[in-house]
């Protein structure tokens, strides 16, 4: 498994971990009816900002830990970080897929809004589509790296 593949797995792990904790907390808050009040949308906004910060922090920490472990395991204190044209092409394909999935999720959210869903539920659909888009994009990149082309 190449360095890039392992890096993608680290990113996937961080995303799944952070979003799992986020949705678990959100589920509890929904059951407590915290989003039904007048401050419901403000609470959603605050939760999303915390989610974004947590996602960045988790990715950074896991990447640092991974690089340390990778350097120790390979015995190479300065592993090669060459990013060539093929890597950029894979990254673009992953980004393209991520945008398709996120866009589809956003469209679904708008349909839900039109159907009369609550605002906080629509925001949750958008967040889920971002999470799914990120995961799908990374899975496509991983698939391309495993296939080699």
């Amino acid at each position: 498994m190449t360095y890039q593949e392992k890096n993608i797995i680290v990113s996937l792990t961080a995303t799944i971990l952070v979003f799992s904790i986020f949705f678990a907390r959100l589920s509890g808050m929904c059951q407590d009816g915290l989003f039904d009040g007048p401050d419901g949308l403000r609470l959603i906004g605050k939760s999303i900002l915390i989610l974004m910060a947590a996602n960045v922090a988790a990715t950074v920490i896991l990447t640092i830990v991974f690089n340390i472990v990778f350097a120790i395991a390979t015995g190479d204190p300065k592993p090669s970080f060459v990013v060539d044209e093929r890597d950029k092409q894979f990254e673009l394909r992953g980004l393209q897929t991520m945008l398709y999935v996120t866009g589809a999720g956003f469209l679904l959210a708008m349909i839900a809004l039109t159907a009369g869903w609550a605002a906080y539920q629509v925001f949750l659909v958008i967040i889920i589509s971002f999470a799914l888009g990120d995961v799908t994009g990374n899975l496509v990149r991983l698939f391309l790296y495993r296939r080699g082309y």
Partner: protein, 82 residues
């Protein structure tokens, strides 16, 4: 993974008709390794592997760099079969 294959493969519709003699040229040049060629051209070894298998078409710049490493013309490294 079937969905990933559909998404990833479907985006790249054109089939690759570009052939190459990189493997033979490497052996003719003091049995140069894929890693050595990758380092000389500034790409990863996996990219060289994909190019040799004709699964990945390099950019024009990279193609010229590979030909330059072997000291031959571009046509002696790559061929096109429609």
């Amino acid at each position: 993974m079937c969905a990933c294959s559909f998404i990833a493969g479907g985006i790249n519709v054109a089939k690759h008709h570009i052939t190459n003699n990189i493997r033979r040229l490497r052996f003719d040049h003091d049995e140069m390794t894929q890693k050595a060629l990758a380092e000389k051209t500034g790409v990863t070894r996996q990219t060289i592997v994909a190019i040799e298998k004709a699964k990945y078409s390099p950019s024009l710049e990279l193609a010229f760099q590979i030909a330059d490493v072997f000291g031959v013309k571009l046509e002696e490294v790559f061929g096109y079969a429609p």
